[in-house]
Amino acid sequence: MNTITRRRTRILALICVLSAATMGLLYQFGPWETPSRAASKLLTDEVAPDRASATDRLISGWVQKLKQNPQDGDGWTNLGEAFMQKGRESLDVRYYGRAQTAFEKALALRSTSVSAIVGMASVKGSRHEFEQSIDWANKAVALDPGNAGVFGVLGDAALEMGDYEKAYEDYQKMIDARPDLSSYSRGAYLLYLTGDTRKAIWLMRKAIAAGAPYAENTAWCRAQLALMLWGTGALEAAEQTLNEALERTPHNPHLLLAMGKVKTSRHDYQAAIDAYKRAIAVAPQHETVAALGDLYRLLGQEQEAQKQFLLIEQIHQMNKAQGVRGDMQIARFYADHDSHLSEAVKMAEEEFKLRPNVFAADALAWSYYKNARYKDARKTIAKALSHRTPDANILFHAGMIYAKEGDRQTAQKYLYEALSLNPTFHPVYAPAAVDTLKELGAEKKS
């Protein structure tokens, strides 16, 4: 009897254990939703993260859709565009690589997808690979001559190459096809570059009013608008624009950089340092780090200044080791700080040959000046001045070059122009312009 009971209890226990296990397995893997499964399903790329930006949510949305249907070509294009936007927002170039992968997937599904082709053109443009960008863009134009995005990409490349006539044509086509923030803001920037500040400011305001799906887009336009206002001496208006914009996007590095410049002009150096530091905490851009270093130096905090300059120098060495060639910003930085002057000329020449735009011409002319090659400097600064770009730095450089060349009148004219455009264009160079004007005036008297 005992053995039978024992066997029976054993079987009963086994059944219980088995059914418990089955229930457990069913619970975990059955067709219904369980909390733990819900948790494990929350793959990072599938769920909108906490405090996710609109862009992050967009990315997760497309990732989820594409996981269900990887054959959705438009889905891949949309994901690529969302990655591009994320790259712009975070300034993290790694997103361009992901965007490219997404566009390539779209093209593998349909090689004639115009938006994916424009996407490729845009990736290449972001990486400053303008020749490839133009190649892709031309493919898109051949397929769809009415696509607005492609003219934006083509115009951007023309702008970088200093071909402003071509940029005008492309941007006009873009505005015709799609009058919105993207096309207006591009047009506005070009108008500014070619000397029509009044109209540029009007069009940039129009761009901001048109609005955009991402806060970063309008923030960028407001930063540009503020820089135009600041660049033409309208400090009050510039600061107001920035204050309004920073209320919406308080950590946008472009806005903070512009605010640093405005505060520097107002001699509120502590506020300027704060703005630059906040911008650097988000994304250390060359211009911000250099401006912060200059301010520290001006205030006699040489150790802090050296820290910033060393960072720029070391990163430049790293980029050089990795095969990055001519760099206009570094050339300008070296010229400004009287260091590596022959390297500065070499880099600026290389840059100007590749992209003969106004700012490359200015950087090259300034590098020649610092190397005492005044004739070359004068020839080159003429190119920087040829579009009447309302940038006090270019005018200041021109004034200094003409002063060295002994052309007192022209020098005075440019220095006056620089100071009347924006009397506080630079914490060091604006006073230097004043001093040079005094010296030139004294020369006249003597």
Binding site: P49, D56, D92, S115, P284, Q285, E287
Partner: protein, 255 residues
């Protein structure tokens, strides 16, 4: 040249982006700071395995912070000082709450690589700092049941990077809801998947809810109930079976 843009019709908001040229925004170089947290919660305490991995630009910034005597070299003492300061800062900026009550971290261990580059002179590789630390916190005695845990990483706010939080399964608690996954995507920031469908995670906070057969909303889940009832029955039956065994073994003694 006089140009005038013909402005067209009022703008239509389109989702297709290609907004604003960005060729003028130049980050200095690789500047991302990647975050990784692996959280584990048990009845007695919480722990987090926390990693910060910096790209070249922040590494260079840190180097100049760590080099106190500015001799261009990082000594053992400077490295230790730097690590301790950093880990203390990290711990302070990692907020943790159990049942909405804030707890303090204990630093159990910490290590650092990359501050002193072993790369030979003129090498193409540049140092990148990686700091790994293990933190823990005890559950206060008066918290008898852990209902929810909130975690927030406030280190390097708004700096771009891979921001991953994973939650380990708890041996003695049932996780009923989690805002972060259990799956590690990057093998602790050592292998980043290049698949376009794995977007860099952007998690900086996690919310975990726990229950024992009772889910977050207070309902007893049916499967959990059945499983526990069946298991209890099985245990009871198994125990019953031991009784005759004892009787049998007693027999020779009694006879």
């Amino acid at each position: 040249m006089t140009h005038r843009f013909r402005s067209g019709w009022p703008a239509v908001l389109l989702l297709a982006v290609f907004v604003v040229p960005h060729a003028w925004a130049h980050p200095l170089g690789p500047f991302a700071i990647d975050h990784y947290s692996r959280i584990q919660v048990t009845r007695v305490g919480l722990s987090v395995h926390y990693i910060i991995d910096m790209a070249e630009v922040p590494t260079l910034e840190e180097l100049s912070n760590a080099d106190r005597d500015r001799d261009g070299k990082i000594s053992d003492a400077e490295e230790q000082d730097y690590l301790q300061t950093k880990v203390r800062d990290f711990a302070r900026n990692l907020r943790i709450e159990v049942n909405r009550r804030a707890l303090e971290w204990r630093i159990d261990s910490s290590s650092l690589t990359g501050l002193r580059s072993n790369a030979p002179e003129g090498s193409r590789s540049f140092p990148t700092v990686r700091i790994v630390t293990d933190l823990s916190a005890s559950i206060p005695k008066d918290i008898h049941e852990i209902k929810d845990v909130r975690y927030r990483d406030e280190n390097f706010p708004r700096r771009a990077g891979w921001k991953e939080i994973v939650v380990n399964p708890s041996p003695d608690l049932r996780l009923t809801n989690s805002s972060v996954p259990a799956e590690d995507l990057s093998a602790e920031l050592t292998r980043y998947p290049s698949d376009a469908l794995v977007a860099p995670p952007q998690f900086l906070q996690a919310e975990l809810r726990f229950g024992s057969g009772i889910d977050a909303s207070g309902n007893i889940s049916l499967p959990a109930l059945v499983v526990s009832l069946l298991t209890t029955t099985a245990v009871l039956i198994a125990r019953r079976k031991r009784k005759p065994k004892r009787v049998l073994s007693d027999r020779p003694q009694s006879s």
